[in-house]
């Protein structure tokens, strides 16, 4: 850490009397390991998680990461809600990128309904746009919080400000700043606002500047690098073995991105790169996220350029609500509206595993339908569940102070991990 501090061997406390210099080396004061609780409520534990540490001085000997403090019975609740009513629950999975969770869930149900190839093109582009905005806000939050925990408060403000611009834009579209519930089975609930694209272009310009500033402030910053370089190294084999995906997996050299490897929506039409790390340490995870934001901006610009006109919701009253004017004035649409709201969309019996690239990696939904208006089972594969598990492996041997940036760069989101 600090070059001026004496090395552990140069200064010793000894027992007994006499000349310290004459004492044998192994008479050092014996240390005892000590249990230490970090969390569940701890300033550096963003997200409610508890780590039971066994420390020897400042060194971490063993770690037991305990999750579940934000368990909200998502999967059980989903069994008692109609297919559409589940969207607000998905908002609360990864609550810094709710749009990505919305989209992931909608795609799963649409595949089960066999309408995934009928979703209007404009709706697919809008889903990509709001999803990539969400990915940027996700990474902004992660980097901002982690920088702040390493005392870089300016970075926090720069990035939070950028995040706010994006969230305000999403609020204009969806009506909610954070819990958007914007996507619907069959499309999205409302069209983009008229001045959405010019506004987004303007915001992207300002975000680029903010990210460039942060890049300058952190990437070559000695303090930052000392805390990040070589800390919490994950090898590529470990990444595969532990099922790590997203920026954490990619920083370990695993070039897996669902958008590239199993393209969904219209991702195969865009030109973008997948950044991959070489060391797998905290700094790689930071650098990968920084670059991913830039790539998301590339996708956004291409999507805005090619955004087609057309409907935003599937024209099928079995799935999507009919227009309000029809509902109030004709019995046909009134019945369709009633059935969709009260009984729910009728999804044919079957099962599906559908996965997308969430903010933290592969966000999967395993859904079983029994042919009624609600899922029989709705299992989530939260990316940061696997990512958090690897902490038990990489934290032992580090200093207590290293836990903070390592945990920050793993980016566990309680809402998603605990469901």
């Amino acid at each position: 850490m600090n070059d001026h501090a004496p090395s552990p061997t140069s200064r010793r406390v000894v027992m007994g009397f006499g000349d310290a210099a004459n004492l044998p080396e192994d008479d050092e004061l014996p240390t005892e390991s000590m249990p230490l609780n970090m969390g569940p409520s701890h300033p550096a534990m963003h997200g409610t998680v508890r780590m039971v540490l066994e420390v020897e001085g400042e060194k971490v000997r063993t770690v037991d990461v305990q999750i579940g403090f934000l368990h909200r019975c998502f999967e059980k609740e989903a069994e008692n809600a109609t297919w559409t009513q589940i969207f607000p629950y998905t908002d609360r999975l990864n609550y810094v990128s709710p749009m990505l969770c919305n989209v992931g869930y909608a795609l799963a149900v649409e595949k089960l309904l066999d309408i995934d190839d009928k979703i209007p093109e404009r709706a697919q582009f809008i889903r990509v746009i709001v999803g990539e905005i969400s990915r940027i806000t996700d990474h902004l939050t992660c980097l901002a919080a982690s920088a702040m925990e390493l005392a870089a408060f300016t970075v926090f403000f720069y990035l939070m400000k950028a995040r706010e611009w994006l969230w305000e834009l999403l609020e204009e579209v969806s009506g909610a700043r954070l819990t958007h519930s914007y996507v619907r089975i069959g499309g999205v609930v409302a069209d983009l606002t008229d001045d959405f694209c010019p506004k987004l272009r303007d915001i992207l310009g300002r975000c680029r500047a903010a990210i460039a500033d942060v890049d300058k402030m952190l990437t070559s910053n000695r303090i930052f690098r000392d805390r990040m370089d070589g800390i919490g190294i994950i090898t590529r084999d470990d990444a595969i073995g532990w099922g790590l995906t997203g920026p954490v997996g990619r920083s370990a050299g695993l070039a897996y991105d669902v958008r590239k490897d199993h393209p969904y929506l219209v991702y195969d039409r865009f030109d973008f790169d997948v950044p991959v790390g070489s060391v797998g340490d905290n700094f790689d995870r930071y650098a990968v996220r920084l670059e991913e934001m830039r790539q998301s901006m590339r996708i956004l610009e291409q999507a805005m350029d090619r955004l087609p006109a057309g409907p935003i919701l599937l024209d099928d009253a079995r799935v999507a609500l009919p227009p309000k004017r029809e509902v109030y004035n004709t019995i046909e649409s009134m019945i369709a509206h009633f059935k969709l709201i009260m009984d729910g969309i009728v999804v044919p019996p079957g099962e599906i595993y559908s996965f997308t690239e969430g903010g933290n990696g592969e966000l999967g939904f395993y859904i079983v339908s029994d042919g009624t208006g609600r899922p029989w089972k709705c299992r989530v594969r939260p990316p940061c569940f696997a990512n958090t598990a690897v902490l038990n492996k990489i934290l032992p041997g580090l200093f207590i102070a290293d836990i903070v940036p390592t945990f920050g760069m793993i980016n566990m989101i309680g809402g998603e991990c605990d469901r």
């Binding site: 029809e326 004035n329 004709t330 019995i331 019945i335 009633f338 059935k339 009260m342 009984d343 009624t372």
Partner: protein
């Protein structure tokens, strides 16, 4: 009536037909619709009902038969050898849509205020088979919205889709032709004959069979949205027939009872009187144990009962009596008769119950107790009658009496020194009792009733017991323990199993599978 099929080629004859390209074999006489239902092919219908005759008036179940120029109503046409039926051709689907379009043409936009919304066949069929926007924007034919048809029923003539199911229920089930159709074409409407009312004892069945919300029950109307209700299978406690029912409840309040099909007991029906038996579950309940008229804790009340009973038993066992009620379940009866013989050591066990009432040859039985058969089996040949009880009370040989459930015959009470009552309701017996213990009712407990045919039928708890009331078998077990016995009953099923092993003629009975309440919203629009 229902089920009388034409058997042209003998009762066992089989015919081979092809439905949607797959060969099947059915007994002759079956209709195409029933054949489709047996093999899981969905064909929508409005006017057809499994318990009624088929007039084929709604034309919703039309299917194609190869070689026939026009679509054929499947509910009316029997299967015939080598017939080839098509239920899913573009033509059939188109006809289905057109029929729905006709039916919806003059249907009012009432779903938000309609009682049937959520369990409506018209909603279901439109959503399953049509789901197209309206093509008609003309004005609809208006008819009367609120027609008071009778004691229990209100009719909305606009909502009626003219299926005539209700007319057939009156004609074929109640055997009282009260309802008729008047006028023709789009002015056609359902009504009663001039000066007549829909007042037969089975009138509420018309509400069940109504595929839409035209006929509504005054009792249920506007009280609850149907999809919020939870359905629990049970048995009507109104008389010895034991009609199978579903209890529809929400938040521990029963909102209605509807018949559950059972071909061996009640087919698809039940009487109006039975439907309203649920009212008593929520009226004048005894909600806490009473000792000398004052509320007491269960433990104190049970200790007092144990003390009183032990004292009476030890002083003079021949003056101690136990009254069983045919209103209570087999489990309660078994537990109390065991208590009487093993721990009270009395042979003065009486069987009482509700007074006899009216009856008919359709469903209603004169015996207004749901479990007379079960009580007689459990009580055995030595059980004394209500008349014996009255006589013994009059001559004063009884000094102490333990009464389980409701019984009319417990009077006069003058000669009694001790009276312990297990009652679900307030009443003169509770007022006179030394100790009164609150008893859970049929809708609040698991158990069985044995109907007049000797069928042991299962009750499921649909709501929580009122106040502090508990099931009779549980009270018996706690009482026995308070008197020093080692009874270990933990649930009604254990009592049932023991009763089945020990009581003659109950040996074939089956406890059945556990049933948890189903919310109607997710019961797939049963219609």
């Amino acid at each position: 009536m229902a089920g009388e099929k034409q058997a042209a080629s003998g009762p066992r004859a089989k015919v081979k037909i092809v439905i949607d390209g797959r060969p099947h074999e059915f007994p002759a006489g079956l209709t195409i619709l029933e054949a489709c239902q047996r093999v899981g092919i969905k064909v929508p219908f409005f006017c057809w009902h499994p318990g009624l005759s088929a007039p084929a008036v709604c034309r919703q179940c039309l299917v194609e038969i190869r070689g026939f120029p026009k679509p054929i109503p499947s509910c009316y046409t029997p299967v015939a050898d080598k017939m080839e039926v098509i239920t899913n051709s573009p033509k059939v689907l188109d006809v289905r849509r057109q029929m729905l379009e006709f039916t919806l043409l003059n249907h009012p936009i009432d779903c938000p205020i309609c009682d049937k919304a959520g369990e409506c066949l018209l909603q279901k069929h439109y959503f399953d088979w049509d789901v197209r926007l309206a093509r008609n924007d003309g004005s609809k034919v208006r008819k009367a919205k609120v027609v008071d048809l009778g004691r229990h029923i209100v009719l909305d003539q606009e909502r009626c889709i003219l299926c005539t199911r209700c007319i057939r229920v009156c004609n074929e089930v109640a055997r009282q032709p009260d309802l008729v159709m008047a006028f023709r074409g789009d002015r056609q409407l359902l009504t009663t004959a001039p000066g007549q009312r829909l007042d037969n004892p089975y009138s509420l069945n018309t509400v069940d069979v109504c595929p839409v919300g035209a006929l509504t029950a005054k009792d249920f109307r506007f009280s609850m949205r149907a999809w919020e209700l939870w359905a629990t299978p049970s048995v009507c406690p109104g008389c010895a027939t034991g009609c199978n029912i579903e209890i529809h409840a929400a938040h521990d309040v029963i909102r209605r009872l509807i018949p559950r099909p059972n071909p061996a007991v009640n087919k698809y029906w039940m009487c109006d009187e039975g439907r309203l038996t649920y009212k008593r579950v929520h009226q004048d309940r005894l909600v806490a144990p009473l000792v000398a008229g004052a509320p007491a804790r269960w433990a104190a009340a049970l200790a007092e009962v144990a003390r009183l009973m032990a004292w009476a038993r030890d002083k003079s066992p021949s003056s101690l009596g136990v009254v069983l009620s045919a209103q209570t379940s087999n489990e309660d009866l078994f537990a109390f008769s065991r208590l009487a013989s093993e721990h009270l050591r009395t042979d003065r066990v009486y069987l009482a119950g509700a007074r006899e009432g009216w009856c008919d040859e359709i469903l209603v039985s004169a015996d207004k107790n749901p479990n007379t058969t079960g009580a007689k089996l459990i009580g055995g040949p030595t059980v004394r009658t209500a008349a014996d009880l009255k006589q013994d009370l009059k001559i004063g040989v009884l000094k102490a009496l333990l009464v389980l459930g409701e019984a009319d015959a417990v009077s006069p009470l003058d000669s009694l020194q001790t009276l312990v009552v297990l009652a679900s309701h307030q009443g003169p017996l509770v007022t006179a009792a030394s100790v009164a213990l609150p008893l859970a009712m049929w809708a609040e407990t698991d158990g069985t009733f044995t109907n007049r045919q000797g069928k042991v039928q299962r009750l499921h708890a649909a709501i929580a017991p009122a106040g502090q009331s508990r099931p009779g078998w549980e009270i018996a077990a706690r009482l026995a323990r308070a008197m020093g016995a080692a009874w270990t009953y933990a649930n009604a099923k254990q009592v049932f199993s023991e009763a089945r092993d020990k009581v003659m003629l109950m040996s074939g009975a089956d406890w059945g599978r556990p049933e948890s309440p189903v919310q109607l919203r997710f019961a797939n629009s049963r219609g």
